[in-house]
Amino acid sequence: MSAHLPGFALRYRRQTARHELQAAVPKGAVTHLHVPDEDAKAHLVTAVLKGRCEPGEELELFGESAAELARPRRKQLLARVGAVSPIVGLITNLNAWENIALPAAYHGSPPLAQVATLAHEVLAAFGADARQFLARIPDELGTLERKMAAFVRSLVAAPELMVFDALEDGLSYAECRHVARFESEYRARQPQGTVLYVDTREES
């Protein structure tokens, strides 16, 4: 387990008539956050992905309040956040490789050769045949495979904060053991990175 770094990667607070949700995610830590319902989860994940909050919400990303962020600064901070979430699904008319490479190709970095190497490494670690996997469109992929593609796509940007939203939803017990390894794969590439698991289930 990595040592915590000073400060917080994420702080979030939301006050509603029914409940108050507060979350503080220390840098470098692995945090499991169980939120009361789907609505609360969607608000939290959306706020983090947008770097913006609605009335009744407060958000701090890497020590900076989202309310005071100028657009370029918000963009810079959001580049440090990655997510595997149903909110950031795959594009259905692109195959897995095009989905994974799209942000890198659009933003011009990292080089596509590097993206290809990363994709092959990660998929091989999960026992997938990268060549076949990458050629398939999302409709030809199972739930686990879609999550793997989304995970690889997130890894490409080397995010400092990785949000795993409802990671085990729709997966069998055996598949859950696969996604449990996402964290170690992320850690192997971002030893100082922060991991946040969000779900709506009660802790067992």
């Binding site: 959001l78 950031v88 594009i91 259905t92 008319n93 190709a105």
Partner: protein, 258 residues
């Protein structure tokens, strides 16, 4: 009540945005999307329109020549004025609306409804850059290319049939066609078809990205609106062009030789 105004405003904004962002076509995934659109709209449609375009020229020339008891001069004038200038671009525009307009509006509406446009935004990808610009640029270019192709085939079909209807050889008709053909015929069709393509693409992209609601039922509604309005826009542009070229504004200034 304000929906039509909102649609006009949205369409104009989208068009201006696309025009201003044209240099972004150099970005790799945008350029790939542009090439895919050109291929889908221009290349794959070409084989499908081959027979129809030839048939169009044949039918028009057969009916007109029979009705007007035409000679060589009139036959070639019909080919140039009617088939080349008017029917060719309109036929190509109809093909583009039916094949590409429906596909683009349905695809974008589906992406919007299923949250894929939101996913793109979260990945830092500008929707208009990635989805709209390559489609508008690709459809515009491909419509112009398809128009030239349809015109060529329709005129060829008309020329091939004419010797069976009137007493003139294919060579005679072709020679006369080249005598009467003026550059304005070419520019007129190219500019008009570029405008047709741009209007169809902008209209279909706008409706695709702005479905009436975010349910599955909104997809066919968006497609219907896109197709209907695209067709109206094409007819409007055609009317304006006809007025500009044959009407009082340029009459005598840009006068065709026929």
């Amino acid at each position: 009540m304000f929906q039509p105004l909102r649609e006009i405003e949205g369409g104009i904004q989208l068009s201006l945005y696309v025009a201003a962002r044209a240099p972004r076509l150099r970005v790799a995934p945008i350029f790939e999307s542009f090439l895919r659109q050109v291929y889908f709209t221009g290349v794959t449609a070409a084989t499908g329109v081959m027979l129809r375009a030839c048939g169009l020229g044949v039918i028009i020339i057969a009916v007109m020549m029979d009705m007007l008891d035409a000679d060589v001069d009139l036959a070639v004038k019909i080919l140039l004025l009617l088939v080349f200038r008017e029917v060719g671009p309109l036929a190509a525009a109809v093909v583009v609306i039916l094949r590409t307009g429906t596909a683009v509006s349905a695809e974008l509406a589906m992406m919007r409804v299923s949250g894929q446009t939101r996913a793109l935004r979260y990945l830092g990808i500008d929707l208009y850059d990635y989805l709209v610009l390559p489609r508008v640029a690709g459809i515009t270019l491909a419509t112009a290319a398809l128009t030239l192709y349809v015109q060529f085939l329709a005129v060829l079909g008309g020329l091939a049939l004419s010797p069976f209807v009137i007493e003139a050889s294919f060579t005679e008709l072709t020679d006369r066609l080249f005598d009467l053909f003026a550059p304005v015929d070419f520019y007129y069709s190219v500019v008009k078809s570029l405008l047709f393509g741009f209007a169809i693409a902008a209209c279909c992209c706008w409706h695709g990205l702005n479905p009436p609601d975010l349910t599955q039922n909104a997809v066919p509604k968006a497609v219907t609106r896109a197709v209907t309005q695209s067709a109206m826009l094409v007819l409007l542009i055609n009317a304006v062009f006809a007025y500009l070229v044959f009407g009082i504004l340029f009459f005598g200034l840009v006068k065709a030789h026929v």
